[in-house]
Symmetry: C2
Subunit: 345 residues, 2 copies
């Protein structure tokens, strides 16, 4: 599929993550009940805080990957799938709690962040406690495999976030650097979600390996999409302000593409904006993003990753999870397409 | 043993933690080599940072508890003991990295804290990565038992720290509240160190259980000692400023005892100081600590915990670890005793 047909408003209205996820409603309900039950395992003094963090308004993409990769046709997921879905979601929630401290974010999903609600000091520890509980659940499997995989992935996620943090406000970043960071900070947890879902769903080891590759490339595609949406999103539907990455000195793929396209003088000005030596001219940058067709180049990269993801599953079209996982790729294509629609169209 | 004989300068010069730990030099060297080797397991981008955090100047009390509880008479610890010593130390180091962010501490052990060296944002994630790697090592044991124990303990440590953080600048704290917090934030990791040391040392389950109790009470005693040293320590030898707990609004046992002893009017003033409604009169509080003999009352509590710790081991005097573990109690007694010596004596 070429990048151009991503630009279809029809797709964006008929298909989005909600469509695929609608099939997972029973699983997500089971997961919610399970997570709420786990709050009782926290020490009484911090239960309310843990409960606050385990809110139900998130997208729950990682648990969805677990359920889809382990799908056996039944709406009633096995207790093992539910537990491992909880593990990956708790790790993700822990990283969100810590991210919000670092970004000094006040709101997430229309409510106060944990850092705002309980103070950054308590939020550091609350993130730790969520993460510790994730590993505690992981240790309830008969073997150490889940602990091993989840702790290894978590270290990678942290490494990716650290590198990204330390690179803020610098411009000597290559495409390889960018891809390395999103591989660690986002794709790793997508990958492990598919790996563990397939594994605990009882699928053959070759499929589990392929599902891992699928998850990794879907994760890379998803993060590039997220970075693209920071410049091309519709503020109302995405619920955030455009250009926050530029304003915070964070160089993502759209900016790398724009830097490539600008002449030397204009590039020097943009570099100064990233280095925060001068105020960013956001309206100009947003216009240049359109002018130089950054969208097409970036969405081509997304498409390349989605093709890799689909190719990883090509040998297993007969297995129950595969049509659903592939549908996720189409869903993401549609979401990318909807970004191309000018605001108000 | 009554509290009064804690006050013996002779003990404090002949016996301190260094004496017991001198026996553990070969084990600690093995641990250091092992930890340095583990740095290579971190992603290349964060290896230098991980290496910085795994410095060798710490007291290594928790690894010592592992080695002593698993002691079989040989100086060459088993690979399992070394690994589990690394696990508990990494968890401890992770909590220190996060503590230093919250306390906005610039220095620890005569060098910059990770938060000061790499910025608080990177330090949050670095602590996470250290913790994740601890769990990764824990998952290398044949069963999930170590993961289970360590993740559960870590959540308790976090819960204790959260409660302590949220209680700063409040005075409606009972002794029970105080003991609950130190049980979680300090005693839990001491307990699990002894538990896992005894377990992996191959000792009978009854002893392992008793070593657990020993570790817990030693941990409570150690934390009370640490809180006492904040008011009675000798600034030079302890290397920190006295009274920092009062200045940061943290109510520990010495302050609880003093609040009990003061008349209503004076108590109201001290309460205001804790609430930070007025500046703390630190010299007055230090004089009152002596005047009302807070030292004797607090050291009696330490002694009570040490007796509980020793009693837990009473049935196992024939086992190799027991004389060494009991020696730790005497060592702590000597350290408490040395606090009673007036500065300059």
């Amino acid at each position: 599929m070429c990048a151009s047909n991503l630009n279809s408003p029809a797709q964006s209205t008929t298909q989005d993550f909600a469509t695929v996820f609608a099939r997972l409603k029973p699983q997500m309900r089971t997961l919610d009940v399970y997570l709420r039950g786990e709050v009782a395992a926290f020490e009484p003094e911090i239960r309310e805080m843990a409960d606050y963090c385990i809110d139900t308004s998130g997208k729950r993409i990682r648990p969805a990957l677990v359920f889809l990769s382990g799908w056996n046709g039944s709406d009633q997921p096995s207790p093992e799938l539910v537990r491992v879905a909880a593990v990956v979601e708790l790790v993700h929630l822990a990283t969100l709690v810590h991210d919000d401290i670092m970004d000094e974010a006040d709101m997430r999903r229309s409510r106060r962040t944990a850092a705002r609600q309980y103070g950054p000091e308590a939020a550091v520890l609350l993130g730790d406690a969520l993460f510790a509980h994730a590993l505690h659940l992981a240790s309830q499997f008969p073997t150490t495999e889940v602990c091993h995989a989840v702790s290894d992935s978590t270290r990678k996620v942290c490494a990716g976030e650290i590198v990204q943090t330390l690179r803020r406000g610098t411009t000597n970043i290559t495409r390889e650097d960018y891809f390395r960071v999103i591989d660690l900070k986002t794709a790793e947890l997508f990958r492990i979600s598919c790996f563990l879902g397939g594994k605990l769903g009882g699928f053959p080891v070759e499929f589990v390996e392929s599902a891992s590759h699928f998850g990794r490339h879907l994760g890379i595609a998803y993060q590039i999409y997220d970075d693209l949406a920071d410049y091309f999103g519709q503020e109302k539907s995405i619920g955030k302000t455009l250009g926050t990455d530029l304003l915070s000195g964070k160089v993502t793929l759209p900016l790398l593409v724009l830097l490539d396209r600008l002449g030397p003088d204009e590039r020097a000005v943009l570099v100064d904006e990233v280095l925060r030596l001068r105020e960013a001219d956001l309206p100009l940058r947003l216009r240049q993003m359109v002018e130089f067709d950054v969208f097409a180049q970036v969405s081509a990269e997304i498409e390349a990753e989605l093709v890799k993801a689909e190719t990883a599953l090509a040998a297993y079209t007969g297995l129950a999870p595969v049509p659903l996982l592939r549908q996720l790729c189409d869903t993401l294509r549609a979401q990318v397409g909807s970004l191309a629609v000018p605001p108000g169209a």
